[in-house]
Amino acid sequence: MAEMVKNAVGRLVPQEINGKPQTPFLGVAKFEPTGRTVGTPIRACHHYPLDKRVPNLRAALEKVGLRDGMTIGMHHHMRNGDMIAVPLFDAIAEMGVKDIVFAPSALFPCHEPLIKHLDSGVIHHIEGSMNGPIGKYCSEGKMKGTAILRSHGGRYQAIQDGDLHIDIGIVPAPSADMMGNATGAYGPSACGSLGFALADSEYADNVIVVTDNLVELPCIPWEIQGMSVDVVVEVPKIGDPTKIVSGTTELTKSPTRLLISKYVADFIEAAGYLGQPFQAGAGGISLAAIIFIAERMRAKNLRAPFARGGSTKVLVDMLNEGLIGAILDGQTFDLAGVESIGEHPRHVPTTPFTSYNYHGKGNWAPYIATAVLGATEVDTNFQANVVTHSDGYLLHGIGGWQNTLFGECSILAFPLFRGRIPIVMEQVTTVCAPGELITVVITERGIAVNPRHRNGPAILERLKGSGLPLTTIEELYEIGLKMCGRPEPPDVDRDHPVAAIKWVDGTVIDTVYKVNR
C-alpha cells in the first residue's frame, strides 16, 4: 500500500495511485498547475482515406493497435441505454488483450456485465464514475487496480493536463458520416448534446466513432470533427432509445420532495437569486423546484439570461416562453430537449471544457447563481459526500456535482433521512467537497445556511423576515440523531483503499476503503 498523507480537509489520501504520484488536496484554489496541456501524436492526412469505415469493433481496435495496459475512454450520452461498452469489452476479451484501464465519463446499471471482464483481468480498473453493481464490486476490494473518481470537469482537466492519457477514445454517435463527423442531435438513438465526447476526440491518441446512423457527407452539425477521428464503425444499434432519453420528464409525486422543492424556490426568491442564471437538473427535487421558480419568474416578470442543463421539457418550455435567454446543454434528458437542441438557435450543446474545466481560462460554473444538488451525506461542517453511502459502499459517480459548487449559491436539497438513515452526520464517510463551498442545506425539516460560505452571512441577512423555516446544520443533525438513533460507523478496512476521489484540480480529496463483509 502506498504512503498515506493527510490533506487540507484532514483526510488520509494515497501519495501514489496505480504507480502514479499524486498531490493531496491543498484547499480551494490553492493548487497552481504548471507546464503545458498535452497533445496528440502528429499524423499525416495521406494515411487517412475519406471513408474511414471498418466492418466491426474488433477490426477498429486492431486497426488502432490495441495492446495490453491501454486506457480506453468513452462518453455516457447513451446513459442506461448504452449498447456499445459491453460488446466492446467482449471484443477486447476475444482478442486476448488484458489490463485495460476503462475511463468512461459515467457508468450505468446496464454496464453490470463488465464485471466479468473485471474478474478475468481484461479490465484492470475503472477511472470514471461508479454505479450500483460495479461500485459494490469495487467496494468489496475485487478490482485489480485502484479506482479513480472524477467530476465531469475533472475528467476533462485530467485528460487535458495529462493525468489521464486516453489511448483510444470510443465515441458512440447517433449520426455520423464516413469521415467521422458526428452529432447527437438526430438519428434513431438521438441523445442531444455529445459534449462528454469532446475530451476524447481532442486528446485521445486514437478515436473510434461508432454509429447506427451513417449519413451523407458532411454530417451537419459536426459536434465531433472528422479530422480527429481514426476509424468509423457501423453497428446495427448503439443504444436503446427508450433508455437514452425519457419520453417525458415526470414530476415527482412524493409530497416530501415537493415540499422541499417549494422551500428551494422560496429560498431562491427570498435570497434574491430569482431571474439569475441557474443550473438545472432532472432530479426529482431540482426539476420540481424549477417549475416553482418558473411560476415566480412569470409572476414577477423576470427573465434569466441563461440556464445550464441538464435540459428537459421544463427548461425547453421556459426558453420558448422567454423566461430564459438560452440553454447551455451539457446532457439532454428527454425528447423535448433533443428536439429543441436540434432546432432552437439558443439551445446549444456545451462540453465539460466550457462548462466545468477548472484548468482553463474560465468556465461557466462560477457564473451560475444557483445550483440545486443532492448528497448522500453532509456533516456539521457542511462537508458533503455524493459517492458513498453511510455503510461505506461506493455507489454513485460525482457527475458535475463538484463543478457546480463554484456559483453564487450551491443548494443541497434532500429529505433529512432515507428510511431511518440520517443524511446530516457528524462526519461524512467520504469528503467530495470542502464545506466552504456549500451555501445552504434545504430539507423538509428546515433550511440551514452555511455561515462560513462566502455569501452565507449576506444571504442570512436577506432571509430575515422571510418566514422560511431557518435552522442550523447542528439542529438538523440533532433531529436526525433523535429520530433515527446514532448509526454505527462503516465497517471498512483502512489498510485497503479501493478508490480515490479527485478534486476539480486533480488533487486527491479523499479515499474510499474496502468494506468488510
Binding site: 415540499l259 453511510s390 432515507r418 428510511g419 431511518r420 438513515i421 423538509e444 462503516p490
Partner: protein
C-alpha cells in the same frame, strides 16, 4: 397457540415484517435482515430484544425483515406479532413521547384533515410538515379486518413517537360497538379528536364518550378529547341535530359521501347532486347543535381544479372544512378557504366602527351612512379571528375605502 405468527409488511419502505415461532432457548433467538443492517443492525436487535423482554416473551425464534423502519415501528410490529402468537399477553411497550400533545380548542379551525392509513408508518412520519389543520390516523376503512390489531398498536405508537406539529391529532375508530375496543390504544396517548364513523343516533356518541371518560380517568388524562361523528347513512343524516347535540364534547359533524350514496342507493357523481340535500341537512343539523359542519373528502387527487370548485361549493353551503387523502390537496383547500381581501377590509371597517361607537358610548354602530346590525358585527369579528388563525397579517391591511 398458533404455530407461527407474523405482523407488519414485507418489502415496504420504513416498515418491517416480524415472524415468530415458538421454541429455542429462554432468551429468544433473534435473526435480522435489514436494508440498514450495517448502520443500525445492533440497534434493531436491541429494540427487538427489549420489546420481547418487556412483554415477557421467552423461548421464541424471532425473524425481523426490515426496510429501515424507525424504532417505534419495530416495537409496534414485534408487539403485534407477539400478541398474535401468544394471545394472553397484555403488556404494552410504549415508545417515548416525541412532543407532548397540546390540547385543542373546541371551535378551532378545521379546514383540512389529512387521512393516513393506520397500516402505513411511512405516510405518517412527515404528515404534520404539510401543514394540515388535522391529521387522521385511520383505523377504519383503510385497515382490513385482519389488520385491526396491528394497526391499533402502530397508531398508538405513532401518536407517541411522531411530532405532528400544529396539526390536531385525530383518530378515526371503527364504528361502535366494535370501535370501543380501539379506545384503550388511543385515549391515553395524546389524541385530540376522535372520529366516530357511521354514527346514526345520539347513543353512538355517548357510548364513545363514556368509554373515553373511563379510560381517561384511569390514566389521569384531563385534556378534552373532542368528537367528530361522521354521518354517512340516511339515518345518520336525518339525525344530524340530535347527534351533534348528543354531548358537549362533539366539536363537529362530518359528512361521508361514499357510504352515504351507497346507503341511499344513488350514484356518486362529480357535481354531487345526489348528496346535495344530505349535505345541506348536515350543515343545518350542525348549526342547530352549535358544532362545525365538515364536508366529505374529494377523492380525485390529480384534479386540483375540481377540488377547488368542490371546496368553494362546500363553503357556500356553510361547511367549515374538507377532508383530504393526499398532502397536495391541503394547499388548494386552504387557498379556497382564504377570505377575500375585500371582505377583510370590510370586516376591519366594521370593527373600527364598533370601536368608535364604544368610545362614544353610542349604542348604534354606523359605517358611513349605513347602520350596522349586530350579526354583521359578529360575522366581521369572526372573519378577522379566522384570518388571524390562518396566519394572514390582518393589521397590514389598513382599513381603506371600500369600492
Amino acid at each position: 397457540m398458533p404455530e407461527q405468527a407474523s405482523a407488519g409488511r414485507r418489502d415496504a419502505k420504513s416498515d418491517l415484517m416480524v415472524t415468530m415461532t415458538p421454541g429455542g432457548p429462554p432468551e429468544n433467538e433473534i435473526q435480522i435482515e435489514s436494508s440498514a443492517l450495517h448502520l443500525f443492525g445492533k440497534r434493531i436487535h436491541e429494540v427487538t430484544r427489549m420489546t420481547l423482554e418487556k412483554l415477557g416473551v421467552k423461548h421464541t425464534h424471532v425473524f425481523v425483515n426490515d426496510r429501515a423502519a424507525f424504532d417505534w415501528v419495530i416495537m409496534a410490529r414485534v408487539e403485534a406479532a407477539a400478541k398474535r402468537l401468544y394471545p394472553d399477553l397484555t403488556g404494552e411497550v410504549l415508545p417515548e413521547i416525541a412532543s407532548p400533545a397540546r390540547p385543542t380548542a373546541r371551535d378551532r379551525m378545521r379546514r383540512s384533515r389529512l387521512y393516513l392509513p393506520g397500516v402505513n408508518p411511512d405516510l405518517m412520519l412527515n404528515a404534520g410538515l404539510f401543514g394540515p389543520d388535522g391529521v387522521i390516523l385511520d383505523l377504519e376503512d383503510s385497515v382490513s379486518p385482519a389488520e385491526k390489531d396491528t394497526a391499533r398498536i402502530l397508531v398508538r405508537n405513532a401518536l407517541r413517537a411522531i411530532d405532528f406539529g400544529s396539526a390536531e391529532r385525530m383518530v378515526r375508530i371503527n364504528p361502535t360497538p366494535a370501535g370501543l375496543q380501539d379506545l384503550p390504544a388511543i385515549v391515553p396517548h395524546g389524541v385530540n379528536l376522535i372520529l366516530i364513523p357511521k354514527a346514526e343516533k345520539a347513543s353512538d356518541v355517548t357510548e364513545v364518550v363514556n368509554a373515553c371518560d373511563q379510560i381517561a380517568t384511569r390514566h389521569r388524562i384531563t385534556d378534552p378529547i373532542w368528537l367528530m361523528p361522521i354521518l354517512e347513512s340516511a339515518k345518520g343524516v336525518l339525525h344530524a341535530e340530535q347527534i351533534g347535540a348528543a354531548h358537549e364534547r362533539v366539536a363537529a359533524l362530518a359528512f361521508g359521501a361514499e357510504d352515504f350514496t351507497r346507503d341511499v342507493q344513488a350514484e356518486r357523481t362529480v357535481d354531487g347532486r345526489e348528496s346535495f340535500v344530505a349535505r345541506s341537512l348536515v350543515v343545518l343539523g350542525a348549526r342547530a347543535a352549535g358544532v362545525q359542519p365538515i364536508d366529505t373528502v374529494f377523492s380525485d387527487v390529480e384534479n386540483a381544479e375540481g377540488l377547488r370548485a368542490s371546496v368553494l361549493e362546500a363553503i357556500s353551503l356553510g361547511f367549515e372544512g374538507k377532508g383530504c387523502i393526499h398532502p397536495r390537496q391541503i394547499a388548494v383547500i386552504h387557498e379556497a378557504f382564504r377570505p377575500k381581501e375585500a371582505d377583510l377590509v370590510h370586516a376591519l371597517n366594521v370593527k373600527g366602527a364598533m370601536e368608535e361607537a364604544e368610545r362614544n358610548g353610542s349604542g348604534v354602530i354606523s359605517l358611513g351612512t349605513k347602520m350596522v346590525d349586530p350579526p354583521v358585527v359578529a360575522r366581521a369579528l369572526r372573519l378577522l379571528r379566522v384570518a388571524a388563525e390562518m396566519g394572514i397579517d390582518v393589521a397590514a391591511l389598513a382599513p381603506k375605502k371600500e369600492g
